[in-house]
Symmetry: C2
Subunit: 510 residues, 2 copies
């Protein structure tokens, strides 16, 4: 069904069983000690069990700077845990695994943050060494490769940034200066980890901030990384400190501004919103004779969508973070012809909110209090207890649907909500929810809607569709009476017809 998606893919010495990639995702499951623990292990073994081609383990620090919960690869004491994790992943399936390695600068609760302008040349030289050592440890621990984090708000991304303000050979107006440290690091990593060790880079296709770089420059960056021998590039977007919103007494979270939305496009963004970034880099690479694969990410919701991207040659590999968090079994389900059993991410960004608030990152669709995705081999789908479980109600300008719960031999996990806005010709899955009531805040008067729901269980088995309900919001855009005080010519300051006191807003009926 997905011929290209499930074709193995070679990256240097590593053979991916398919073209699905799990991009690095914060979990907040580790302790502040930086060691691999059971929760971390369970999380990644779960992804391996689901059959994803490449697992990029969450960012681990190449240095020992203070931070919240974060894995570390900055010393040999972390090697046993990391080795064990790699082994357990490899024992589970043929998924490949690479750690993402990160350097970050200091941030304080006051809002202060260290900037790359504050780094001395010696500091920079140390970062190069730290990346080299981290990559070597990744290899020694049995990983299939390593990914350098050069995206979002972190050190190397700040060097690449068009807003890099260093006045020296590591900054300024020249792209060659801004890319100098990333290239030095790649060179060092290659030198230390060996020519056969797959090395990837994740960086921004667009910064999505005022004066930030766009695909015009990220394509050149991709080309230069390829020239330097990088084995794959993976593109993200935004996630910058520059537009982050500081909350009093908390450290700045780089996904609180517009660029944070662009990094993890929430439900109100179209699917595949950042694909043009991968396309631009890939086009540049191919035009210059490089076959370096490009990983596209950003709200790629389904194997269908992924296959289409590959068929259209818009990317070489498909990164899915939130979709795989919602259902780590997505790859195996798709490969085995069971796409209908996928538990679909709704890009509600509960995961993002949890990270932002320093909680362990789980999916909002998982059963309550679980910190790992459920797993079940059950094949029996939930059933409706009544023939017409779904009801609809139009009230206060909103369409609200509610339903009688379905039943299941194991447990009902949630309900998919499907909507048509074209008289029932096409229905789209627009939401999933664990309760039995939902209000459609995006419904608009003058459009006729139809809804049905499907219940699904822990294995993703879906019930038959419920009955279809129809609803219209009344098209009541009545003109209020004209104001009394219109005078022409009208250079006079307009006089309100009534004062607020006379007619409280909430009592005005329009």
């Amino acid at each position: 069904m997905y011929p290209k998606l499930f074709t193995p893919y070679q990256i240097n010495s590593m053979t991916l069983p398919n073209r699905l990639v799990l991009p690095a995702m914060v979990t907040r499951l580790s302790g502040e000690d930086g060691f691999v623990n059971q929760d971390i292990t369970d999380r990644y073994v779960r992804f391996a069990k689901g059959g994803v081609g490449l697992i990029v383990i969450e960012a681990m620090a190449v240095h020992s700077a203070k931070s919240g919960p974060l894995l570390r690869i900055c010393g040999d004491e972390f090697k046993p845990g990391l080795t064990e994790l790699a082994k357990k992943i490899h024992d589970t399936s043929d998924s490949k695994a690479v750690p993402q390695i990160i350097h970050f600068l200091k941030i304080a609760r006051s809002g202060w943050r260290q900037k790359i302008e504050d780094l001395s040349i010696a500091d920079i030289q140390l970062i190069i060494e730290q990346y080299g050592q981290a990559a070597l440890r990744a290899r020694e621990c049995g990983y299939d490769g390593v990914e350098m984090h050069m995206a979002h708000a972190y050190t190397l991304s700040s060097f690449l940034s068009k807003r890099n303000k260093r006045p020296d050979l590591y900054g300024g107006k020249s792209l060659d200066n801004r890319i100098r440290l990333p290239l030095q690091i790649i060179k060092k990593v290659r030198e230390v980890a060996g020519n056969d060790f797959p090395i990837g880079v994740r960086f921004l296709g667009e910064e999505c901030i005022k004066g930030g770089y766009t695909t015009e420059e990220s394509a050149i960056i991709a080309l230069k990384f390829a020239q330097e021998g990088v084995d794959y590039i993976s593109l993200s977007a935004g996630g910058k400190f520059e537009d982050a919103v500081h909350k009093d007494g908390e450290v700045l979270y780089p996904y609180t501004g517009y660029s944070g939305d662009r990094c993890m496009p929430p439900m109100e963004y179209p699917d595949g919103y950042n694909l043009h970034m991968a396309e631009a880099s890939r086009r540049m690479l191919r035009r210059h004779g490089f076959q370096t694969p490009v990983v596209a990410t950003g709200k790629i919701p389904s194997p269908e969508f992924a296959e289409e991207v590959l068929q259209d040659d818009r990317a070489d590999l498909i990164g899915m973070a939130r979709a795989l968090l919602a259902d780590p079994d997505l790859p195996n389900k798709a490969r085995s012809g069971n796409s209908d059993k996928i538990v679909k991410c709704i890009y509600w960004n509960i995961c993002k909110a949890l990270d932002e608030n320093f909680h362990q990152v789980v999916c909002g669709l998982w059963p309550k209090d679980e910190i790992q995705a459920p797993y079940s081999e059950d094949t029996e789908a939930p059933k409706w207890s009544v023939p017409e479980p779904l009801n609809v109600l139009v009230r206060s300008g909103n369409i609200r649907i509610n339903w009688k719960p379905a039943t299941d031999n194991e447990a009902v996990m949630g309900y998919e909500i499907w909507r048509s806005d074209d008289g029932g010709r096409t229905f789209s899955h627009i939401y999933s929810i664990t309760t039995s009531m939902w209000t459609d805040h995006l419904a608009a008067a003058g459009i006729s809607y139809q809804y049905y729901i499907r219940a699904y269980d822990l294995a993703g088995n879906k019930s038959v569709p419920s009955n279809i309900v129809r609803a219209d919001l009344p098209m009541e855009v009545e003109l209020p009476p004209p104001p009394k005080a219109i005078a022409r010519p009208s250079f006079m300051k307009p006089q309100p017809m009534m004062s607020k006191e006379e007619v409280p807003l909430k009592e005005v009926v329009l």
Copy 2:
């Protein structure tokens, strides 16, 4: 050559001679009195002379609130001037003309600004009336239609915004509430101006701010506007107060943040960057059986690009603001097979900077001190005075080209710079300049570049290409010596190898 672009297009009772639209652009040529003056007249007659299909005259206020230089349509005293302007445009060519009518709220130099939450129901009723009266005046003055400004940072855009904070039936979570006033205004305008009067709406395809709406909602907005009988929709992006940067003592300029870049994408953005917005609205309209035309805007640079957009059914009409400012004759040149004579916009955004700094808006490519685009019927192209005028120099990590000036029977207006990054297979026009020297800040080491230039005169006649020069930036990414103080395991705070005092940054050679 451009079969679709130059096919006439019917919008209600108005027949556009072609599908090129001049979107409303601030000129700052009017006085604060709001009356049409000679400079304004010259500006729009110049566009008409160039043959653009539809001229949208810069925003004029439907009310008399204080502002800087701004046209007014808020009283009958403005009708003679506006009538004369319409007549002069129509006397010049078959270009159609519609005024854009705007309502805005108060802003202060302190950074304070009035918000839509501050408006009473009576204020809102007044705005509806004012729009109706303005539309009627537009008709009475002889315009071919009217365009309602519902984009950027202005009143109606703030109602449509997903960040609309009104708690009543004009705001809140419901799109129906947010669109209520815009629909009431459309209804009023239609009622007052008549069924045969073309009415258009310009609004945002995306707000491009944190929590702003995207194409998922703008497509619904477009549909609802079409249902209400709007004759065309025109999409812009961003330009919001929410992310604008306040300068002490100056009124907030809504194009100073990221959303301002997205509104008028500068040169570092890809061409047609906002096209997906027009596509999304158009798809929604067609799916619901509406043939309402959609105007796409946002760095659409050339008739070739425009024709392709039309051929691919991504939009129905092509808006070009800056490209037509640079060369109002673009339509006539393209139609008559003289595309090579077009003076090409480089999206340098001098025009935007002038507006931001309260200066009259001109194009940075026009001859110095001119406030209107030059016009010449000359057909003689500039000539090179020497056979190899172009030189290249690589210094300080930059490629700099300079050249011997060309000569012309009238006047050389500037030089186009063309670059190849693929060994001379393809050259792209990347910049234009009026001086005789240029530094390529986007050149990167490891890529081989070739350049040639062409001189052009006031009529846009281009010289033959100059000689081609080649340049490579050296690929010198040398690793600095490893720092001395690396120790593993490395939980110690790293010690910088040298202090800043010992090795001043500028003296470090890498």
